[in-house]
């Protein structure tokens, strides 16, 4: 019983992170048509920011988190302006540019942190929430899941209730039609990657106190985000969130009750199955005929 309850809570915490990773990737792909391979590295930069600002320079956690988000958002916006915008008609070029950024950010992390063991950040919210014999959750994790949900809620509000959000969704549906309707592609793309970067930075900053920080931590992020994106449906943000939570449940429970290796394999197999049966994903938009 304890393992079961513990796994349910673990799944939701994981689901929160998976959502933050995937939604950013989906948004950029939907709006800009670019596969941003450096997305995982953006998360990594978020985590390193916390290590530098909070753990090394002693800045309190919350301001450090805000600065991490700001920094990664800025990197994202710069990527859009100087690397993706000139390559709008050349998705393969955009892809290579994102790989270039990936290499550069990994080396930057290496320069900042050095070789040697992965970096660790002591959790600012210490202590554990305990119901004896039932459940134990560190406050740090409760904080992370609360912030993730709040951020996703805010994004949902932005996308469905504001004009800018509406233009973002219109672009994701059909870029050419959106342009014809007078939506400013440059501005919308910049907002898309800004939001994507903010979510990545937030995810990294929230993860920093609970994980090992190293220059290659983005690898796992991008692969998980791909799986979630495909299962959820490439054009669909709500699909991404749903798929993230489902995938987190699958991964957590298979890991807890069978093994982590089986969990990874089953994730890939489910992704292949979804691609075969319904290439547009569980919540993907229908391809118009």
């Amino acid at each position: 019983m304890e393992l079961f309850l513990q796994s349910v809570v673990n799944s939701f915490i994981q689901g929160g992170f998976f959502s933050l990773w995937a939604v950013g990737l989906v948004l950029v792909f939907g709006v800009m048509g670019v596969v941003n391979f450096a997305h995982g590295e953006l998360v990594m930069v978020g985590a390193y920011s916390i290590w530098v600002l909070h753990a090394q320079y002693g800045l309190p956690y919350i301001p450090a988190l805000c600065m991490a988000v700001l920094l990664v958002t800025t990197i994202g916006v710069l990527m859009e302006r100087f690397l993706f915008r000139p390559k709008r008609e050349d998705p393969l070029g955009g892809l290579i540019n994102s790989l270039g950024v990936l290499f550069i950010l990994q080396v930057a992390a290496h320069v900042v942190g050095g070789t040697g063991p992965a970096k660790q950040v002591a959790p600012p919210f210490s202590g554990t929430f305990v119901i004896e014999e039932f459940l134990r959750v560190p406050y740090q994790r409760l904080f992370a899941v609360a912030v993730s949900v709040a951020a996703l809620g805010l994004l949902w509000f932005f996308l469905t209730r504001t004009r800018l959000g509406w233009s973002l969704r219109a672009m994701a549906q059909d870029r050419e039609a959106a342009a014809l309707q007078g939506i400013n592609i440059n501005r919308t793309s910049m907002i898309a990657i800004g939001v994507s970067g903010a979510l990545a930075g937030l995810a990294g900053a929230l993860m920093a106190p609970m994980t090992s920080i190293h220059p290659h931590m983005g690898h796992n992020v991008i692969i998980t985000a791909f799986i979630v994106t495909i299962v959820g449906g490439i054009g669909s943000l709500s699909g991404a969130v749903l798929a993230a939570v489902l995938y987190a449940f699958l991964h957590t429970f298979v890991t807890a009750y069978i093994s982590g290796t089986v969990a990874t394999m089953s994730g890939l197999l489910i992704m292949v199955l979804v691609l075969i049966v319904k290439p547009t994903g569980i919540m993907g938009k229908r391809v118009s005929e």
Partner: protein, 431 residues
């Protein structure tokens, strides 16, 4: 020791590392190919390191090069070493293979044929396997940190320092002696062969010999973002001892043990980042955590126990230049370098074959923690690994301290069969 994280970071940046490395790189790029002018009277012997210096294996390569450079600089400053009738300065030649087999082959040949090195130090695994045929044919003295690379055909491949993961038996033996009430153990490890499964087999055997039941073994990939589910799963088996067989993820795993209320004993292969662990959990929780790798400023590293010159001075020098980059390989490669010097002096030659013969002829070869014995035929078909004593380290009051030295060799003499059984159970190669 003042390894506070803040000082570590500021140090790095006060040295303008980025600019420095870049300029050094440019300089090297410009001068590559020009003949090197040496001192006329002192001869130079070059030793090679074919190791990962970039990529995710870099922490098991680069710190070793730094360590060797410190030791070599010390030796050279003291006038070099006398081998035979000549005095030699030691020079390190390195090649970054990034844990890639193709590059490993190129690096090995560059070091041997172009840099004329007399020994090549390597990490182990597939990067060693890909150079074995050529290295053995050229009779090139090669070292690995993983004795499991040894096969009946690898006459010129030796493991003189870290006998990963054989030393783990000492920690378990010590724990069982100190805490006889411990009856069950759970093991967590990575699912690769070279590091994870070898280590899991060793721990399985050590626990069996110590009379502790292993209730669960969890093999996980290198892609784990969150250890909560794995730790929950293992703790649901209620083990008295929680054992971490590989070192990549010790901190997040112990953090989970802390949050999930684990009350038993923790054993780990390494715990280089125990200060981080304390920061993430509590001093009380980590008290008594047992592992195998001492800090080099440990007062128990006395000259009679440890065959390493001025360990504390080495530790200080390393942390001055490379703060925050310490890993066990930082002293392991230098230790091999010292083994080589001893053997070369005994042989009176720097050439690989006589040095190897001198090494093998020594019935109690130098080993970091006191003299050892050549061993390995029982397991891999060739006695090319040096095993001897190994320290058991535990955390006392927030510091890693050597508790005692125990003999890996004695354990193997009595229990090699048990180890072999557990290796075979995990499909690991034995003779």
């Amino acid at each position: 020791m003042t390894k506070t994280p803040t000082s570590v970071f500021r140090q790095r940046f006060s040295r303008r590392r980025f600019l420095g490395t870049t300029l050094a790189g440019m300089g090297a790029a410009l001068t590559t190919g020009l003949p090197k002018v040496g001192l006329a009277d002192a001869k130079t012997v070059r030793l090679g390191m074919n190791i990962p210096m970039t990529g995710d294996y870099a922490p098991w390569g680069l710190p070793g090069l730094y360590g060797c450079e410190i030791v070599a600089a010390n030796i050279n400053a003291a006038g070099g070493v006398k081998i035979g009738n000549d005095t030699y300065m030691i020079e390190m030649a390195s090649y970054d293979h990034g844990y890639d087999t193709e590059k490993s082959v190129q690096g090995f040949k560059k070091l041997v044929l172009e840099d004329d090195v007399k020994m090549v130090m390597m990490l182990g695994g597939s990067t060693v396997a890909s150079i074995i045929p050529w290295a053995m044919r050229k009779k090139m003295l090669t070292t690995t940190l993983l004795p499991s690379d040894i096969t009946p055909d690898t006459e010129y491949l030796v493991a003189t320092c870290e006998s990963h993961p054989l030393y783990n038996v000492t920690g378990v033996e010590w724990l069982a002696d100190k805490f006889p009430e411990a009856k069950t153990a759970a093991i967590i490890t990575t699912n690769d062969i070279e590091y994870g499964k070898q280590s899991a087999a060793t721990y399985n055997a050590a626990f069996e010999v110590a009379g502790i039941d292993v209730v669960d073994v969890n093999f996980h990939g290198f892609d784990v973002a969150d250890f909560a589910p794995i730790v929950s799963s293992l703790l649901s088996k209620k083990p008295d001892v929680f054992c971490m067989a590989t070192d990549v993820y010790t901190t997040p795993i112990i953090e989970q043990l802390f949050h999930q209320g684990f009350k038993g004993k923790i054993v780990s292969c390494t715990c280089d980042g125990y200060l981080d662990v304390i920061a993430k959990t509590s001093k009380e929780f980590v008290e008594g955590l047992t592992f195998q790798f001492p800090d080099f400023d440990d007062p128990a590293l006395t000259p009679d126990k440890a065959d390493f010159p001025d360990p504390a001075g080495f530790d200080a020098a390393f942390n001055k230049d490379h703060a925050g980059e310490w890993s066990a390989v930082a002293w392991e490669y230098p230790s091999i370098l010292l083994n080589w010097i001893e053997a070369a002096q005994a042989a009176g030659s720097i050439e690989p074959e006589p040095v190897l013969s001198a090494m093998k002829a020594n019935s109690s070869p130098a080993h970091t923690f006191g003299p050892g014995k050549w061993w390995g035929a029982d397991l891999w078909g060739l006695d090319n690994a040096v095993v001897g004593n190994w320290p058991v380290v535990a955390i006392n009051d927030g510091k890693a301290r050597i508790q005692e030295y125990r003999s890996v060799y004695d354990w193997l003499q009595n229990n090699a069969g048990v180890l072999k059984k557990h290796m075979q159970a995990l499909d690991l190669r034995t003779v």
